[in-house]
C-alpha cells in the first residue's frame, strides 16, 4: 500500500446505458510519471475527470494516498495536494498573469512565500515578459503555461494534466516537455495526451485505454512496438499537431 | 358532491390560467433561450386588442381569437428585429432591454389610454352545479387552454415550420448550414410566442379587465412557471402549471388567497432547489 499515491478500484462511468469507463483498476506510485493514451472515445478523458472530481463515478472508488476521495468536493481535493489542469483551459481571463499565480500560491502559503513562488514560476515558464498582462489577452500556448503555472504554484503532490500541449507549436511543446522533465522526481504526474511526439519526450510508463478499459500498461518503448496498440490506433492517426 | 365538483373545476381553472399566461413566454424561452420581460405587457396589449375593438362594436370572439393574437404577434416580430436580435447570446442584456420595453409600453399605454377598468361580466353566462353557480367562461378558459397546448404540440411536431424552428433551436449553425434563414425563423418564433401571449391576454380580459399595469400581475407567475418547468416548451409549462396551480388552489381553499399565492411561490423555490434545471431539465431533455 505505501508508495501508492493514487489508486482506482473498479471505477466506472455510464452515460445512459453506455459504459464510457468500465471497471478500471489503476495504480500510480509516488514520484511516478504516467501517460494515458488511447484513441478518441476510449474513455481516458472520462476516467481522468472522475479522478479530478469533475464527473461523479457510477461505480468504484478513487483512493489518494490510501484515503477514499471518491466524489469529494473539488476544493478539498486541492487541499489534499492534487493539482489539476483541465482539458479546456480554465483560467481567470480578466485578471493578470501575476495575480492568477499569486492567488494560486497564496492559498496554501504565506504572502512572502507566495511572492517567491510566483517569481520562480514566472522565470521557469518564461512568462515574466507578460506577467502584468491579462490572461485573456495571451496567445494559446502562453495560456496553457499560465494554467500549468497555477497548478505548480500549489506545489502539489500529484499533478493531473489533461492535454497540456493542445494547440502548442513544436517549440512550445518541447519547452513544456522540459518543464515536466524537471518536475518528475518531486511529484507524481498523470498526463492525458494525444500528441505522441510529446509522449515520447516525457514518458516512462504508459497506460493505453480502449473501449473504457485498460488495454495494456508498459514502458513507452514496449507500447509503441505492440501490434495490439497499433491496431487500436489504426485509422485514428495519433500524431497530432495544433 | 357538488362542492367536490366545484373544487376540481377551480383547480383545473387555476392550472389552465397559469399555463395560458405562461405558454407564450415558454415558447420564447424554450426555443430561443430569451427571457422576455415585456411578456406581461404583451398580455396587456392582447387585452386592449379585445377591449377597444369591442367598444367599437366588433364581435368579442373575433377580437379575442383573431385580432389579439395577430396584432400582438406582428408587434412581436417587430420587437424581435429591433431589440432582441442585436442582443443574441447576451442573456442579462436581453432581460434588461425587454424590461425597458415593458416600461415603455406601460408608459405609452398610460399616456394614451388612461385607466380603463372593463370586464366585470364575462360572456356565456353561468351554469348551475348542485348548490353552486359556475361561470361557463371558466370552462371556456380551461377548454381553450387545452386546445392551444394541443395545437402547439401538433404544430411543433408535425408542421414544416415546427421542424425548422426546433432544428434551429437545437443547432442554429447546422440549420444555417442547411440553408435555413435562421433570422426569419427567430422572428417567426418570437412572433408566435407574442401571439400566444396576446391571445392569453385577450381571453383573460373579460374576467380581469385591463389596465396599463396589469402585466405586473402576470409576469411574476408566468416567469416562475416557465423557469420551474424547465426549457422544454410544452411538457415544462404543463407540468409546472399543474404542480404550482394545484398547490395554489388547494392552499387557497384551505386558508386565504394570499397564503395560496405565497404557497405557489414557495413551492417554486423548493422545486428549483431540488431540480435546479427545472422539472423538464432532467426528465424531458430534447423534447418539446
Amino acid at each position: 500500500m505505501s508508495g501508492q499515491i493514487l489508486e482506482t478500484r473498479g471505477l466506472s462511468k455510464r452515460f445512459g446505458g453506455v459504459p464510457a469507463v468500465d471497471g478500471v483498476d489503476f495504480r500510480l506510485a509516488e514520484g511516478e510519471l504516467r501517460c494515458l493514451i488511447g484513441p478518441n472515445g476510449a474513455g481516458k478523458s472520462t476516467f481522468f475527470k472522475m479522478i479530478t472530481g469533475q464527473l461523479r463515478p457510477s461505480g468504484g472508488r478513487v483512493l489518494f494516498r490510501g484515503e477514499d476521495v471518491t466524489g469529494e468536493e473539488r476544493h478539498l481535493l486541492a487541499k489534499r495536494g492534487i493539482g489539476i489542469k483541465t482539458q479546456v483551459p480554465s483560467l481567470f481571463d480578466g485578471i493578470s498573469v501575476r495575480e492568477s499565480l499569486y492567488l494560486a500560491a497564496r492559498r496554501f502559503h504565506s504572502p512572502r512565500e507566495a511572492l517567491r513562488i510566483v517569481d520562480g514560476i514566472l522565470a521557469e515558464t518564461g512568462l515574466h515578459a507578460v506577467a502584468e498582462r491579462r490572461v485573456g489577452e495571451l496567445a494559446h500556448g502562453q495560456r496553457q503555461w499560465v494554467e500549468l503555472g497555477m497548478v505548480l504554484a500549489r506545489e502539489p503532490l500529484l499533478m493531473l494534466l489533461d492535454e497540456p500541449t493542445a494547440g502548442m507549436t513544436p517549440d512550445e511543446t518541447a519547452h513544456t516537455a522540459a518543464l515536466i522533465g524537471k518536475l518528475r522526481q518531486q511529484r507524481a504526474i498523470i498526463v492525458v495526451e494525444h500528441d505522441m511526439q510529446f509522449v515520447r519526450m516525457i514518458a516512462e510508463g504508459v497506460t493505453v485505454f480502449h473501449q473504457g478499459r485498460i488495454l495494456m500498461e508498459a514502458p513507452i518503448s514496449e507500447v509503441l512496438g505492440d501490434p495490439r496498440v497499433r491496431e487500436v490506433y489504426l485509422g485514428a492517426h495519433s500524431e497530432r499537431h495544433a | 358532491m357538488d362542492y367536490a365538483a366545484i373544487f376540481v373545476i377551480q383547480v383545473a381553472y387555476a392550472i389552465a390560467s397559469l399555463a395560458l399566461i405562461s405558454v407564450g413566454l415558454a415558447v420564447i424561452y424554450g426555443m430561443m433561450r430569451v427571457i422576455n420581460f415585456a411578456h406581461g405587457e404583451f398580455l396587456m396589449l392582447g387585452g386592449y386588442a379585445v377591449i377597444l375593438p369591442v367598444q367599437a362594436g366588433v364581435n368579442v370572439w373575433f377580437a379575442m381569437l383573431v385580432i389579439a393574437p395577430l396584432a400582438v404577434g406582428l408587434f412581436g416580430v417587430v420587437v424581435e428585429r429591433i431589440v432582441i436580435r442585436p442582443l443574441y447570446g447576451r442573456v442579462i442584456d436581453t432581460v434588461l432591454a425587454t424590461w425597458g420595453l415593458s416600461l415603455l409600453l406601460i408608459g405609452l399605454a398610460s399616456a394614451a389610454l388612461g385607466y380603463y377598468q372593463e370586464g366585470s361580466k364575462p360572456p356565456l353566462g353561468s351554469v348551475v352545479i348542485g348548490a353552486y353557480r359556475e361561470s361557463v367562461y371558466t370552462f371556456f378558459v380551461i377548454g381553450i387552454t387545452a386546445a392551444i397546448m394541443l395545437a402547439l404540440y401538433v404544430g411543433l411536431k408535425r408542421t414544416r415550420f415546427g421542424l425548422l424552428a426546433r432544428g434551429t433551436m437545437q443547432n442554429s449553425a447546422m440549420a444555417a448550414g442547411l440553408g435555413v434563414d435562421t433570422g426569419k425563423v427567430y422572428a417567426a418564433t418570437f412572433g408566435l410566442g407574442a401571439a400566444l401571449s396576446g391571445l392569453a391576454g385577450g381571453i383573460l380580459a373579460p374576467i380581469s379587465g385591463v389596465v396599463p399595469v396589469i402585466g405586473a400581475t402576470y409576469i411574476a407567475k408566468a416567469f416562475i412557471t416557465v423557469i420551474s418547468g424547465g426549457a422544454t416548451v410544452l411538457a415544462g409549462t404543463a407540468s409546472a402549471a399543474t404542480l404550482l396551480g394545484a398547490v395554489n388552489q388547494v392552499v387557497t381553499f384551505l386558508s386565504t388567497p394570499v397564503v395560496g399565492e405565497v404557497a405557489l411561490l414557495a413551492a417554486a423555490i423548493i422545486l428549483l432547489r431540488l431540480l435546479p434545471a427545472g422539472i423538464t431539465g432532467r426528465l424531458f431533455r430534447g423534447g418539446i
Binding site: - | D93, A97, L103, L108, S110, L265
Partner: protein
C-alpha cells in the same frame, strides 16, 4: 499605474466628501438637502448590488428586499424601544440573517445564475404579498403595527445614540446619509482590495479554477451575499428614518427593477458607477414627474416616468452596454493612448 490612479482618485473623493459634509448644508436650500440625502441613501443600496453583482458575480434581484427588511426591522424596533441605536443594528442584522439562510439554500445548493436571480425575485414577491396582507390591527410586533399596504407611518427618526429626545435635524440627516455613503464606499473598496475581495473576483472570473486552486467558492459567495444584504439593510434603515415611513412597495418588482437599472446605467463592475447611475436615474425620474415644459412641448398633459425610463434602459443596453463609467474610462484611455502615440 492604474493602482496609483485609483488611490489618487480615492483621496480626491474623500477630500470632496469631507468638504461636502461640512459645507453643503450652509450653501444649499432645505429641500435640496432632503433630496440629496435620499440620493445618498439609495446610492448605498446601489453599492450593495454593485458589490454583490459586479464583484462577486451574483445577480440578485433581492437587494431591494433586504433594503425593505432593514427598514421594517428598524421600524418595528424603534417603535417598541423608543431609542434608535439598537433598531439601527437590528435593521442591519435581520437582513443579514435572512440572507445567510437564503444564500445557504441557494449557493450551497449550487443553483445556477438565472435561477438564483429568479429565486431572489420570488422571495421579494413573497415578502410583498405577506406584508401587504397585514393591514389588520392584529398584525403587530410588540406595540408596532405592520400596517399592510398602508405601511408604517410616523417613524421616529434616528437620534443621537443614547439620547432619544435628540433626533437628527435636516442638516444632520444629510450629514448622516452622506457620511454613511462615504463609509460604505470606502469600506467596499477596502474589501475588494483585500485577499477576500481578490478571491471573489477570481471566483467570478472562473469558479471552477478557483475551486481547483483550493478555494471553497460557496463560502466566499455566501459571505459576499450576506455582506451585501447588510449594506442594503443599512440603507433601508436610513431610508425609513429619513422619510419617517416604510411601506411594502419596497418589496415590489418595480423597485427591484430600479436597483438593477441604476447599476446598468452607471456601469457593472465599478463602485463609483453605482452612485452615478443612481443619482442620474433618480434625478431624471423626479424631474420628469415634475416638469411642465417638456410635456407641453409634446402636447401631453404629463410625461410618464415609466416611458422615459424604458427608453433610457433600451438605449443604454443597445448603445452603451457597459454603462457610463466604464465607457468613459475607455474613452479616456484611448485618448491617452492616442495622445502619447
Amino acid at each position: 499605474m492604474s493602482n496609483r490612479a485609483s488611490s489618487a482618485g480615492g483621496i480626491v473623493i474623500a477630500a470632496l466628501g469631507v468638504a461636502a459634509l461640512i459645507g453643503v448644508p450652509y450653501v444649499v436650500e432645505l429641500f435640496t438637502l432632503v433630496d440629496v440625502a435620499v440620493y445618498c441613501i439609495l446610492s448605498i443600496l446601489a453599492l450593495s448590488l454593485a458589490f454583490v453583482w459586479g464583484y462577486a458575480g451574483i445577480l440578485s434581484f433581492g437587494q431591494s428586499a433586504f433594503f425593505g427588511l432593514g427598514g421594517y426591522a428598524y421600524a418595528m424596533a424603534v417603535i417598541n424601544l423608543g431609542e434608535s441605536t439598537v433598531p439601527v443594528l437590528a435593521g442591519i442584522l435581520v437582513p443579514m440573517i435572512f440572507a445567510a439562510l437564503l444564500g445557504y439554500f441557494m449557493i450551497y445548493g449550487r443553483v445556477s445564475d438565472v435561477y438564483l436571480a429568479v429565486i431572489t425575485l420570488t422571495v421579494s414577491l413573497i415578502l410583498y404579498h405577506l406584508i401587504n396582507s397585514t393591514s389588520g390591527p392584529e398584525y403587530t410586533i410588540g406595540r408596532a403595527r405592520l400596517g399592510g399596504h398602508n405601511g408604517v407611518p410616523g417613524l421616529p427618526p434616528i437620534n443621537v445614540p443614547g439620547n432619544a429626545s435628540a433626533p437628527l435635524d435636516y442638516a444632520d440627516t444629510f450629514r448622516l446619509s452622506l457620511g454613511a455613503l462615504l463609509l460604505v464606499y470606502f469600506t467596499l473598496r477596502a474589501v475588494i482590495a483585500s485577499r477576500f475581495g481578490r478571491v471573489l473576483v477570481a471566483i467570478r472570473e472562473n469558479e471552477l479554477r478557483a475551486e481547483l486552486l483550493g478555494y471553497d467558492s460557496r463560502r466566499y459567495k455566501l459571505m459576499a451575499f450576506t455582506l451585501g444584504a447588510g449594506i442594503a439593510g443599512f440603507a433601508g434603515v436610513l431610508f425609513a428614518s429619513w422619510g419617517s415611513f416604510i411601506g411594502p412597495s419596497v418589496f415590489g418588482i418595480a423597485f427591484a427593477a430600479q436597483v438593477i437599472v441604476w447599476i446598468l446605467v452607471g456601469g457593472l463592475g465599478t463602485l463609483g458607477g453605482a452612485v452615478v447611475g443612481t443619482v442620474l436615474i433618480q434625478y431624471l425620474t423626479t424631474w420628469l414627474g415634475q416638469t411642465k415644459a417638456l410635456p407641453a412641448m409634446l402636447g401631453l398633459s404629463k410625461i410618464d416616468p415609466s416611458l422615459v425610463l424604458g427608453i433610457v434602459l433600451i438605449l443604454f443596453v443597445l448603445l452603451v452596454p457597459s454603462g457610463i463609467l466604464p465607457t468613459l474610462r475607455k474613452l479616456l484611455r484611448s485618448r491617452q493612448a492616442a495622445a502619447s502615440a
